[in-house]
Symmetry: C2
Subunit: 297 residues, 2 copies
């Protein structure tokens, strides 16, 4: 089956590779015609942590040619680019089933404005780094969680995507799924970026741990997840331990001089806190500090 | 005249060099006999920003041999080592006139416990880096401000120390002098260390500037310097501009993996804030962040 993939970034390429490997036909919609051309000619080069390489052929088109041919379509553009996809609001795409894979929660407003009957959201727990137009390095193997946001297509998505070497699970509660990911991101990412340490040090370094606890308390309060405090805190510590040597995406952005995703993570928490008159001093401070790191003179 | 200098760090060596150059006889008291021996054999090597070198002979002894022979004595050990000088409380040193050159204000308690009739404090606006046992790099030319803490010896100190190429001025109000320096340190040092930027970027980077303003407001409130707000803020901005390319001592400590002076700067502000029931969330956060950077696993 042909499956659309809007977005030719690291996650778009990674998913397309596994789709192809598992018998589907990905059609990648890229921002530039140059990347589409390159992908059509060269396929996707996949590299795992042991530096083993594999290559698959794929179809690619520029996103401006998107016509909604594929009944199922994954949206893997960055949170910050989601507004560029306004054309999905067209009724002619009503019957397409979309799966959105953005970080954070600021894309939810956009999803609410869409006419489709079937919309799913997912969180990606893989580490992947794009390397040129068509190469992706699979830095950390994880899984994808999918949940229906509107309609009930999550199990279909699991059927399309899941494979032994590429686990995909369906979750019942999309809100809980996204919120838990957001809590983890809000607690780990800015702090590792500011302190320039791998995830594991957040629990070894008593001062880092104390700041992370403050961020955690503010975040669960804002997201109204207090009832699960103990469990979520445990989950956060386990995540730090399991990804002990990982350098977070935000840390990588700071180190490589790229803009971070602070707006769609901590910025979103602060926005919601404001709306509900909750004070979040620690989040505010982390936000400003990462913004200062983002600043280019 | 022989002048004692307790502490063979960057500032101790720098001052001893200029004392000698200006016709006095410094006697340096070092923590280790090894350094004293080395200084006696090799003298002080002074290097300026244009890498011009000069060398002077000096006398040096291990601080355990200190007997208070010199009527005037400079104390240039680090803030954190001041308690090691408990022996100065001995009445036999009552007539010696001391000049203390520590950063921050936490040495003031120690000064209050001393029996001497003449105690001065000073702030050093030079940039200096020690290089081995006996070499000092003069990275930034500035001046030394001196003020009488007890008795009235500041003008004598100006007479001893001042030279055209080594300006020393007397200040009337020791408290104001130390507090102003502390405000500057509390606003510039931790923030440049966390963001890893030179002083000048604190005013160019709008987010950094906003955090610095918060630190400033908290600090002047705690030190009861609000009446001078406008002037002090202006002074802080001018200092950042004048030392635009400087990397603060705290940033250098973080970069070279040394312990920072955060306890005697921001730690002192927090301590005073606690005693007076003032909330200083931004200072608290900076304190924890720098402590996390200081942490060694």
């Amino acid at each position: 089956m042909e499956v659309g993939v809007i977005g030719g970034g690291a996650i778009g390429l990674l998913i397309s590779y596994f789709l192809k490997l598992n018998g589907q036909e990905p059609v990648i919609y890229t921002r530039t015609t140059a990347q589409a051309k390159f992908l059509n000619q060269n396929g996707i080069t996949y590299r795992n942590q042991s530096s083993n390489e594999n290559k698959v052929n794929v179809q690619a088109r520029c996103v401006q040619e998107y016509s909604g041919e594929e009944a199922y379509c994954i949206v893997s553009v960055k949170q910050t680019s989601i507004s560029e996809l306004f054309f999905l609001k067209d009724e002619k795409f009503e019957d397409v089933s979309y799966l959105f894979l953005q970080n954070g929660i600021s894309h939810l407003k956009f999803l609410e404005s869409l006419p489709q009957k079937n919309l799913s959201v997912g969180v990606v727990e893989h580490g992947a780094l794009k390397d040129g137009y068509s190469s992706v390095n699979h830095l950390g193997e994880g899984r994808i969680k999918v949940s229906s946001f509107k309609g009930d297509s999550s199990s279909e998505w699991v059927e399309i995507l899941h494979a032994l070497n590429f686990p995909v699970t369906a979750e019942r509660d999309w809100k809980e799924m996204l919120y838990i990911k957001l809590i983890m991101n809000a607690c780990i990412n800015p702090l590792t970026a500011v302190l320039r340490i791998p995830n594991g040090q957040l629990i070894e370094n008593e001062y880092a741990l104390s700041i992370m606890k403050e961020l955690f308390e503010e975040t669960i309060l804002v997201l109204e997840m207090n009832n699960n405090r103990e469990e979520l805190w445990k989950e956060l510590l386990v995540l730090c331990r399991n990804t002990s040597f990982n350098r977070s995406s935000m840390l990588k952005s700071v180190e490589s001089g790229q803009q971070t995703e602070i707006d769609s993570i901590t910025g979103e928490i602060i926005e919601r806190a404001k709306n509900r008159n909750i004070l979040v001093p620690c989040s505010m401070h982390m936000f400003k500090t990462v913004k200062a790191l983002d600043w280019r003179g």
